[in-house]
C-alpha cells in the first residue's frame, strides 16, 4: 500500500514538472521568460474573482472581436453609445472591455503585462498621469500610429482644431499615436456667495481682476487670500490644490535626457507657496481625495473654502457629487497661473488585427466634430450622465453650450477654453506620478517646519535617485 502511494506521488510530481516545462521554454531569452512569468503572475492579479476591481462588459454582437482595456467605464460607455448610433457596427463587431482601476498602479501593471506578453489588446486607454510612458516612453513601441490605422490624422486634426498639448503628448517621433478626447485646461472654481461677502461681487470678470488671473504669478492672489482670511474664510482647501497648478505649469520636466533631476522653478515655488499657506493659516491643510477635502466642496457648517482649481471634470465628476446645497453657488474664472490636469488618451495596439474597427471608434471619439461625434455629445450632456465636459476639439467647443446649473447658469466653456492654451506636454516624464509623490512629501516637511529648504530638496533628490536607480 505504501509502495502504491509513494509511486503515485512520485508520478504526480514528475507530471507537475513536465507541465511546468511546457510553459517556459528554456531557450527563450531571459526577457521573454520574465515577461511570461510575470504574465502568469499578472493573470492571478487580474482574476475577476480577486481583489482588484475588474469588470468585463461587452457590447455588440458581431463576429469580429475588439478588445478594449480601460480604467474606468467612460470609454466602454462611449462604445455603447456608438453602437447605439451605428447599429451596423454592433452587428459586425463585438467589443470586449476589460476595466482595471488605477489604484495602486494595478491598471498599469495589467496593461503592461498584457502588451508585453502579446495578449489580445486592440485598444487601450492611458491617463495623463502615465500616458507619456505609453505614447513616448518605455511602452511606446506597442502603440500604432493613427496613420497606420488608416485615419487621415493630419488633415482631421487641423480641421477639428485639436488642442496642441493633446497632440504633443500623444506623439511619438512626430507621429500621432494617441489623442485625448477631453481638454483638461484648468480654471479657478470659486464660491459666489463667499466672493460676494468678501469682495462685494461674484462676477467672474471682476474676480479675475482681483486674483490677478492670467498674470502668471500669485501676488494678487495672496492679497485676496488675506482679505478672505480677515473675514474668516480660507482661500483653498489644502496645499494639494495649489500643487496641481504648479506642477503642470512647469516649463521643464523632472528628468533631463541624461536622467538628472531638474527642479523647474514653477515647481520649486510650490515649497514657498505651501509654507505660506501653513504659516499664514490660509488653508485648512486637508490633503486631496479624502473626507475633509470633499467636505470643503459641500454645504457643511465648517466648509468655508473659497476656491478649488481644476478642469471641467472636477466639477462634473467630483464636486457635483459632494456639493449638496451649494449647487448653483459656484462660478468659474481664469486662474492666476495656467495649468491643465488629467485627461485620457486613446491608443491602439500596433499588432491589432481589427485596425478598421478600431480606427472607426477612435476617429469617432477623438476627431469627429459633427453633431453625432462623441465630442459634441460629451460637451453637451448628451451622454446621459449629466455632465458637460470640455473636449479636445476647439471646433466642437465653439458650437457647444456650456451653461451649467452647478455654476448658476454660467457658460463655463468661455473660461475653460482659454485655459487649454496653457496646457503643454513638454514638461512631463513617464515617472511623474512617483516623482511627484516624493516631491510633495518633501514640500510638506518644509512647509510644516520640520526641515529647511535645502535639506528638503536634498531629501527629495535622494529619494528619487534611490527609488529609480538613476
Amino acid at each position: 500500500m505504501k509502495k502504491v502511494i509513494a509511486s503515485v506521488l512520485s508520478v504526480a510530481m514528475v507530471a507537475a514538472i513536465a507541465a511546468g516545462c511546457n510553459k517556459t521554454d528554456p531557450t527563450d531569452t531571459q526577457a521573454s521568460q520574465a515577461s511570461g512569468e510575470s504574465q502568469q503572475g499578472g493573470g492571478d492579479e487580474t482574476d475577476p474573482s480577486g481583489e482588484t476591481e475588474e469588470t468585463q462588459p461587452q457590447y455588440g454582437s458581431g463576429s469580429e472581436v475588439i478588445n478594449l482595456w480601460s480604467f474606468t467605464n467612460e470609454i466602454p460607455n462611449m462604445v455603447a453609445k456608438y453602437i447605439e448610433l451605428n447599429p451596423e457596427f454592433g452587428q459586425k463587431y463585438t467589443v470586449k472591455c476589460t476595466i482595471v482601476a488605477t489604484d495602486g498602479g494595478a491598471y498599469q501593471q495589467a496593461i503592461d503585462q498584457a502588451l508585453a506578453g502579446g495578449a489580445d489588446v486592440d485598444m487601450y486607454a492611458a491617463e495623463a498621469a502615465f500616458v507619456l510612458k505609453y505614447a513616448q516612453g518605455d511602452m511606446a513601441e506597442y502603440a500604432a500610429t493613427y496613420k497606420d490605422l488608416g485615419i487621415d490624422v493630419d488633415t482631421k486634426v487641423a480641421e477639428a482644431e485639436i488642442a496642441p498639448y493633446t497632440i504633443d503628448i500623444g506623439s511619438r517621433d512626430g507621429e500621432i499615436v494617441a489623442l485625448g478626447y477631453q481638454a483638461t485646461g484648468g480654471a479657478m472654481i470659486y464660491r459666489a456667495s463667499i466672493a460676494k461677502d468678501v469682495f462685494g461681487t461674484d462676477d467672474p470678470d471682476k474676480i479675475e481682476e482681483i486674483v490677478g488671473a492670467g498674470s502668471g504669478n500669485w501676488d494678487k492672489f495672496w492679497d485676496a487670500a488675506a482679505q478672505l482670511k480677515a473675514k474668516g474664510y480660507k482661500v483653498v482647501a489644502g496645499g494639494d490644490d495649489m500643487w496641481n497648478v504648479c506642477e503642470k505649469a512647469a516649463s521643464k520636466a523632472w528628468l533631463d535626457k541624461d536622467n538628472n533631476i531638474v527642479i523647474a522653478p514653477e515647481r520649486e515655488a510650490y515649497f514657498d507657496i505651501y509654507k505660506k499657506l501653513i504659516d499664514d493659516d490660509l488653508s485648512k491643510d486637508t490633503g486631496s481625495w479624502n473626507e475633509a477635502w470633499y467636505a470643503e466642496m459641500g454645504a457643511g457648517a465648517e466648509a468655508n473654502t473659497f476656491c478649488f482649481f481644476g478642469p471641467a471634470w472636477l466639477i462634473n465628476y467630483v464636486m457635483a457629487g459632494q456639493a449638496g446645497d451649494t449647487v448653483g453657488d459656484w462660478r468659474v474664472c481664469t486662474p492666476p497661473v495656467g495649468f491643465f490636469w488629467g485627461g485620457t488618451w486613446v491608443l491602439a495596439n500596433k499588432d491589432t488585427d481589427q485596425a478598421e474597427g478600431v480606427a472607426e471608434i477612435i476617429e469617432w471619439i477623438t476627431l469627429d466634430t459633427s453633431e453625432t461625434g462623441l465630442q459634441y455629445l460629451w460637451a453637451n450632456d448628451k451622454m446621459g450622465n449629466g455632465a458637460k465636459d470640455t473636449v479636445a476639439s476647439a471646433v466642437v467647443m465653439g458650437k457647444s453650450d456650456g451653461t451649467l446649473d452647478f455654476c448658476g447658469g454660467q457658460n463655463v466653456f468661455e473660461k475653460f477654453i482659454p485655459g487649454n492654451a496653457n496646457a503643454t506636454g513638454k514638461a512631463m516624464t513617464q515617472y511623474d506620478e512617483d516623482i511627484n509623490g516624493f516631491f510633495k512629501d518633501a514640500a510638506s516637511k518644509y512647509a510644516h517646519g520640520e526641515l529647511d529648504k535645502d535639506a528638503a530638496i536634498q531629501q527629495f533628490k535622494d529619494n528619487v535617485t534611490s527609488a529609480f536607480a538613476l
Binding site: 509513494a6 506521488l9 531569452t29 510575470s38 518605455d138
Partner: protein, 545 residues
C-alpha cells in the same frame, strides 16, 4: 535481537523521500535559484531603458552619398519618363488646335504624376549591399578592442547579437503606375477620337484609382515584389548570457571615466567604422546597489523596528490571555466566546483595516483628532500620518491588533497539550499561579513558542499589506517602508527594475533564513540533543558487541 527492535525502518520508506525531494526542488529551490540568476543580470521590465539600440550606429551616415544617388536616380527616372511621353505624343502635332488641347492635358497629367512619383523614389545606398536576409538573425561582430586604452588592439569574434530589423518597402513607381497608364494610353490611342473626352476623363479616374489600388495592395504584397527596401532601423540585442553586458552608444562624453568600459570598434560590411563603448556589468552590481541603497537600509531598519514594537506586546498579551484561559484553578465565564472575539481581528482584511485606521487618524478631521482636540489634550489636530514615529506606532499597533489573537490561540493549543500530571505535581509542590506559569507552563510549551517566534519573525520581516495600504512608500519620507515594499517599488513600479528587485529579494531571503536559524539555535532543546547523542553512542556500542 535487541538490534532489530531499535532499528525498525520500513523497507519502502525511502520511496517517500522522492516526492519530498521533488517538492523541495520545485517549490523551494527553483524559485530561489531563478530569482538569484535574475539578480545577476540587467533584466528590466520595459527592457529598453538600459539597452541602447544601436540604430544610429548601423544606419550608415551616408547622407551625402544618398543624396547624390537619389539625384542621379531621379534624373534618370525623369529622362525615361520624358522619353515615354515623347513616344505617346509622337502622333500629335502641337500646331493642330485639337491636338494642342490634348497635349496640354497629357502634359499636365504627366507633370502631376511625375511629381508624385519622384517623391517615392528614395534609396538607401547600403540596402543594395546588405541583403535583407543578411540583416536578420545572428550577427557576429569582428570587433577590435582597445581594452586598456593603451593602444593594444585585441580582436574578438564572439559577439553574438540578435537583430530585429524594420524595413519600409517601396514599389518602383516606374514599373507599376505608369505601366497601367501606358496600357490605357495604348487603348485610348487605338480606340479613336469619338469618345475622346469621356474616355480621357475615365482614363484619368481609372489611372488614379489604379494607382491608389496599387498603394493599398502594397501593404499586402511581400518583399520580393518590391524593388527597393529602405532600411529604417536595426536593433541589436545581445543574446542572453548568464552575465549580460550594458551597451553604450555615444553617450560617453569627453572627460568621462571609461576605465570600466571597453572601447569597441565595429566594422560594418560597407567598410564603415563605428565606435561603441561596451560596459561590463560587475558581477555583484545589483546586490551591491541594493545593499548600499539608502532606501533599502531605511526599509530594513523600519521593518525591524515595526516588528519589535508589534511583537513584544503581541507576545505579552498572548501569554497573559493564555495564562488566564488555561488556568486550572479559576474558570473564566464565556472563555470560548472571548477566544473567538480575540481571534476576529485576524480575519479582517488588511485593506479594511487600512481604511478604518485612515478614517480614525485622518487629518484635520478624524475620530482620534476630534477626541484629542475635543477633550483638550491637544490644542490642534495632529498630523499622524506625516510624523515618522506616529506612523510607525500606528502600523505596529495594527499588526499587533491583527495577530495577538492568533498567537494566543496557538499558545493555548500548546498549553492544552501539556499532561495535567505535571500541573498536579506543581500544585502539590506548592507553586502559586505565577510560578506555575513561568516555571512549568512556559518551559513545556517551548516548541510552540519556537513555532510562534519563527513564524512571527518571518511574517514580520515580510510585512507588506498593512503599511502599503495604510501609508505607502512615500508617506513621511518612507517612515513605514518595509523590505517588501522596497522590492515592490523597485521591481513592480517605476522603472520595473526586475534585476535589482530580484537581488533585494534574495538578500531578504538570506536575512530571514539567518535570523530564523539563530532563533532555532537559541531555542533548541538541549536535553533532547544530549539524549540523541547518548542513544547514538549506545547503538554504536551495541553494534560493536
Amino acid at each position: 535481537m535487541r538490534n532489530k527492535k531499535l532499528v525498525n525502518y520500513s523497507k519502502y520508506g525511502y520511496l517517500f523521500s522522492i516526492p519530498f525531494i521533488l517538492t523541495f526542488l520545485i517549490f523551494t529551490m527553483y524559485p530561489i535559484i531563478y530569482t538569484l540568476i535574475i539578480g545577476y543580470t540587467d533584466l528590466q521590465g520595459n527592457g529598453k531603458t538600459d539597452w541602447h539600440t544601436i540604430t544610429t550606429v548601423i544606419q550608415p551616415k551616408t547622407a551625402d552619398a544618398q543624396d547624390a544617388f537619389e539625384e542621379k536616380a531621379i534624373s534618370e527616372f525623369k529622362k525615361n519618363r520624358e522619353k515615354d511621353y515623347k513616344n505617346e505624343t509622337k502622333g500629335l502635332d502641337s500646331k493642330n488646335p485639337d491636338d494642342a488641347a490634348k497635349l496640354k492635358e497629357m502634359r499636365a497629367e504627366f507633370d502631376s504624376l511625375l511629381k508624385e512619383q519622384t517623391k517615392q523614389v528614395q534609396f538607401e545606398k547600403e540596402s543594395e549591399s546588405i541583403a535583407s536576409d543578411k540583416l536578420e538573425g545572428e550577427w557576429r561582430f569582428k570587433a577590435t578592442f582597445d581594452k586598456n586604452g593603451d593602444g593594444q588592439i585585441v580582436e574578438k569574434e564572439d559577439f553574438i547579437y540578435e537583430s530585429s530589423v524594420s524595413w519600409v518597402y517601396l514599389a518602383d513607381p516606374t514599373k507599376y503606375a505608369f505601366k497601367e497608364l501606358d496600357k490605357y494610353r495604348a487603348e485610348y490611342l487605338a480606340s479613336g477620337d469619338e469618345d475622346e473626352e469621356e474616355e480621357d476623363v475615365e482614363a484619368d479616374a481609372d489611372a488614379e484609382a489604379d494607382a491608389e489600388a496599387e498603394e493599398e495592395e502594397e501593404a499586402g504584397v511581400s518583399s520580393e515584389d518590391y524593388d527597393y527596401a529602405r532600411l529604417v532601423s536595426v536593433s541589436l540585442h545581445k543574446k542572453s548570457n548568464f552575465f549580460v553586458r550594458y551597451e553604450y552608444n555615444g553617450t560617453v562624453k569627453p572627460g568621462d571615466d571609461t576605465s570600466d568600459k571597453d572601447v569597441m570598434t565595429v566594422k560594418l560590411s560597407t567598410g564603415e567604422e563605428v565606435t561603441v563603448y561596451v560596459q561590463k556589468i560587475k558581477l555583484f552590481e545589483n546586490f551591491t546597489w541594493v545593499l548600499t541603497n539608502a532606501k533599502f537600509q531605511q526599509s530594513f531598519k523600519n521593518t525591524v523596528i515595526i516588528w519589535i514594537i508589534n511583537f513584544i506586546p503581541q507576545l505579552g498579551f498572548a501569554l497573559l490571555f493564555t495564562a488566564w484561559f488555561t488556568d486550572r484553578r479559576s474558570k473564566v465565564k464565556g472563555s470560548g466566546l472571548f477566544k473567538i472575539l480575540f481571534y476576529m481581528p485576524n480575519i479582517i482584511t488588511a485593506a479594511t483595516l487600512a481604511i478604518l485606521f485612515n478614517v480614525l487618524f485622518g487629518f484635520p478631521k478624524g475620530a482620534v483628532n476630534d477626541l484629542l482636540v475635543g477633550t483638550g489634550i491637544m490644542k490642534e489636530a495632529y498630523r499622524f500620518n506625516d510624523h515618522e514615529w506616529a506612523l510607525k506606532i500606528i502600523v505596529a499597533f495594527v499588526q499587533f491588533y491583527q495577530w495577538y489573537g492568533y498567537t494566543m490561540v496557538n499558545l493555548i493549543a500548546g498549553v492544552i497539550g501539556i499532561s495535567p500530571e505535571i500541573f498536579e505535581a506543581a500544585e502539590i509542590d506548592g507553586a502559586n499561579r505565577a510560578q506555575t506559569f513561568f516555571r512549568v507552563t512556559i518551559p513545556c510549551i517551548r516548541q510552540i513558542l519556537l513555532f510562534v517566534l519563527v513564524t512571527s519573525l518571518i511574517g514580520g520581516l515580510n510585512m507588506f499589506d498593512v503599511p502599503e495600504l495604510y501609508a505607502g512608500v512615500k508617506q513621511a519620507n518612507g517612515a513605514v517602508m518595509t523590505l517588501n515594499m522596497f522590492v515592490r517599488m523597485v521591481g513592480l513600479s517605476g522603472r520595473y527594475l526586475y534585476n535589482k528587485a530580484a537581488a533585494a529579494s534574495v538578500i531578504m531571503f538570506v536575512i530571514i533564513v539567518a535570523l530564523s536559524a539563530v532563533v532555532f539555535y537559541i531555542l533548541r532543546d538541549k536535553d533532547e540533543a544530549k539524549l540523541k547523542k547518548l542513544r547514538k553512542q549506545e547503538l554504536k556500542a551495541l553494534k560493536a558487541m
